[in-house]
């Protein structure tokens, strides 16, 4: 058994993530493939990504059981808590024809991107799914570094609508929740305190920002509230 640890650091931003790569259960070149996926995302102008090995990363990129994925699923993101330690596992389907695209998507998530209805960040794959991050994907990564975390709806101002979004997702846990301001995996009082500190008190605009008024995204539901009875 051998682990291939990797540290990923998004330079010149507050986001710093640590990863391990575990190739058991699939092709042994996973470390190289993860490096390739990182390089694809690092192509965004103004975004620097560096990777270094570490031993105690709480995030692992590896494989799941090929027979348990079924014919439709290409990767899983699994949040695991054991003995008080939280971990995030990306499990790739070793038999998936979309394995590389799934890895690109998952690495995008680990870099902090939220799923979209376009490009490689659309979790619902078709044969039109690109094999590399699109300009929109890279712009999203770049834009992420230009908005303060308290600006939950990313409209350039921390206001009532950010508070509203936080209230709507209060208590939820998951990956890259927009209202999880401190990125600890759960939307809670700590996030509310950060929002309060950055809040610009003013009457809300008569019309909501475009990010609220747009039709529902195509992404299906995910992050479950902590302690919910279902998987």
């Amino acid at each position: 058994m051998r682990y291939w640890p990797v540290i990923l650091l998004l330079v010149s931003s507050a986001l710093a993530l640590t990863y391990r790569v575990d190739p058991r259960g699939g092709p042994l070149d996973l470390e190289e493939r993860v490096a390739g996926a990182l390089a694809a995302w690092a192509g965004a102008e103004g975004v620097e990504v560096t990777a270094r090995p570490t031993q105690d990363a709480a995030t692992v990129i590896g494989y799941g059981s090929a027979t348990a994925f079924g014919p439709d699923t290409h990767s899983l993101t699994v949040a695991r808590t054991e003995a008080g330690r939280r971990a995030l596992e990306v499990r790739l389907n070793p038999a998936s024809p979309f394995r590389e695209r799934a890895l690109l998507h998952e690495v995008g998530v680990l870099l902090g991107l939220s799923p979209s209805d376009r490009g490689i960040m659309n979790p619902r794959f078709t044969h039109d799914t690109p094999s590399a991050p699109t300009a929109d994907d890279l712009n999203a990564l770049r834009a992420q570094r230009e908005v303060v975390p308290e600006d939950v709806n990313r409209d350039g101002v921390v206001d009532f609508y950010d508070l509203w979004l936080l209230a709507q997702s209060f208590g939820r846990s998951g990956v890259n929740l927009p209202a999880d301001i401190n990125r600890d995996g759960v939307v809670d009082r700590a996030d509310l305190a950060l929002l309060q500190a950055a809040y610009i008190f003013a009457a809300p605009a008569e019309t909501p920002p475009a990010t609220l008024a747009r039709p529902p995204q195509t992404a299906p539901p995910a992050a479950l509230p902590e302690g919910e009875e279902a998987p």
């Binding site: 290409h74 990767s75 695209r101 979790p123 979004l165 529902p216």
Partner: protein
Amino acid sequence: MRQLSLLLAVLSLSWALATTFTALTLEELTQQADLAVFGVVENVAVEARDGEPWTVVTLTVTRPLAGELGESLSLAFYGGVLETGLSVSVVGMPSFTVGAEVLLLAYDAPYYSPIVGFNQGLWRLTELGFVDAQERLLSLNEAGALTLDGEGGDTEAILTALSQLLENR
């Protein structure tokens, strides 16, 4: 209606996905389903399988639509919380509430999620109709054909149309 759209938009923003899967059409969903059922969630329980938590969801079959079905159906989904304290949550995995009425298309196989298309072959019956994981309404169009995204429609008529679609596979 605007309030509903706004609420759905808010909820969409609140969700974050990473799990990836193939987008399936309604025809693909029905073609691939081993089991199809409309039923009521009677029980949700977590059990350990090889040390990992799996959530077993038991439905009372209200209306069997395809496959060999008895009065109840149990499906296991990877994830849950064990008494040992081990908690596993899979992003995007379907979740179930006791008493909920659901329509589902499923594989008869022990997959992480037995729902066809990971979570696409699952609809919850709400006041608006059958709602899928993307908050779309399973509907009948003007020509009487089933669509994944529409204005809804009579529940019984939708179930009948789906049954016919499954029979004609």
